[in-house]
């Protein structure tokens, strides 16, 4: 319980710090275009890492492919391209994942 509170407070602190730092210290400065691009690419890399870590699960020191998770992600990703709505796409992905889990 207490570690959750610690996490919340630290997340709040580092997030607010990045915001206030940007608006005060960085104000009026032109960041190098390469740095701007780098900062913009970081979230994509982190999100991909999170997804891949859940598709390939460690088991006894080896990586094991989780087919239900893979199917769910592909279905969710395709759905958002087609349906363009966030929550329905998540639901479609989860349903496909459950189906694969029970059929295999």
């Amino acid at each position: 319980m207490s570690s959750q509170w610690l996490l919340i407070i630290m997340l709040a602190a580092v997030t607010y710090f990045s915001r206030i730092l940007g608006i005060t210290v960085m104000a009026g400065r032109k960041l190098h275009p390469v740095i701007r691009l780098y900062f913009n690419y970081v979230p994509t890399a982190i999100i991909v890492a999170l997804i891949i870590k859940q598709i390939f699960v460690p088991s006894n020191g080896h990586l094991v492919l989780s087919l239900p998770v893979l199917a769910a992600c592909l279905a969710g990703g395709l759905s958002i391209l087609l349906v363009k709505k966030f929550l329905p796409s998540v639901v479609i992905g989860v349903v496909i994942g459950i189906l694969v889990r029970y059929l295999l």
């Binding site: 959750q4 509170w5 996490l7 919340i8 407070i9 630290m10 997340l11 709040a12 580092v14 997030t15 607010y16 990045s18 915001r19 206030i20 730092l21 940007g22 608006i23 005060t24 960085m26 009026g28 960041l31 691009l37 780098y38 900062f39 690419y41 970081v42 979230p43 994509t44 890399a45 982190i46 999100i47 991909v48 890492a49 999170l50 997804i51 891949i52 870590k53 859940q54 598709i55 390939f56 088991s59 990586l63 769910a72 992600c73 592909l74 279905a75 969710g76 990703g77 759905s79 958002i80 391209l81 709505k85 966030f86 929550l87 796409s89 992905g93 989860v94 994942g97 459950i98 889990r101």
Partner: protein, 230 residues
């Protein structure tokens, strides 16, 4: 209320509403996922009240679900938050008339308010009030949606409803619409390779996400540079 302020309030509300609905959708997902890593309605809601960042909160609960410790969660969120520096720097001039209130307005800086406010400042010049209204609407939407999600998530049997699957699917749905242009797609593919490599070397290791976040964008930069020279 001053007439000009009333007009701004109206414009800001109309422009914020469609995005507020999208933010609420993320908020519900966050709330459901937070309950899967043992947050309750109070703590899940409190995180939204104090942090107010969809990406930071979703990544944090996603990492906790994968068994990450607090230190690596915080490091990853610091990396993720780097773009707030860009947003703050770009918005500073438009928010400057707010004076001492600027440290309060800073709390509202994130992806969506940045998009709306920067286009507003381009049109009419500095307008902190517009930013305050937009960020306020998003804040309320985010908190209520998180609480709703946490209440729903607390009632569901995770295995039966596939809530464990909701983590990767939520991230996939966040990722896919943004995959446009060679550099971003290259970053994503590089992230796949780097993550697999790091996990292959040491399965389940804590550094995978942060190292991938640091390294994969370099491939994006490389591709961007090559495109510039073509």
């Amino acid at each position: 209320m001053h007439f000009a302020k009333k007009a701004t309030l109206k414009v800001a509300s109309v422009e914020a509403l469609p995005l507020a609905i999208a933010i609420a959708a993320y908020g519900v997902s966050y709330g459901v996922l937070a309950t899967q890593v043992d947050f309750n309605v109070l703590t899940a809601g409190l995180m939204s009240v104090l942090v107010f960042s969809g990406s930071a909160q979703l990544v944090a609960v996603g990492m906790l679900a994968g068994g990450a410790g607090i230190a690596s969660v915080i490091l990853t969120v610091v990396l993720l938050n780097l773009r707030n520096l860009l947003y703050g720097a770009a918005l500073a001039e438009g928010l400057a008339p707010a004076g001492k209130w600027i440290s309060l307005l800073a709390f509202g800086i994130s992806d969506e308010p940045f998009v709306l406010a920067s286009s507003r400042f381009k049109k009419v010049g500095p307008d902190p009030f517009y930013f305050a209204v937009v960020a306020g609407i998003f804040y309320i939407a985010w908190i209520f949606a998180s609480l709703t999600g946490a209440m729903i998530g607390g009632e569901l049997d995770p295995q039966k409803f596939g809530l464990d699957l909701a983590f990767p699917v939520t991230f996939a749905a966040l990722l896919v619409p943004g995959l446009k242009g060679k550099p971003i797609i290259g970053t994503a593919l590089a992230a796949v390779v780097i993550t697999l490599l790091l996990e292959w070397i040491r399965p389940g290791n804590e550094l995978t996400i942060i190292l991938t976040g640091l390294l994969a964008p370099l491939v994006g930069l490389y591709l961007n540079r090559r495109m510039g020279h073509e």
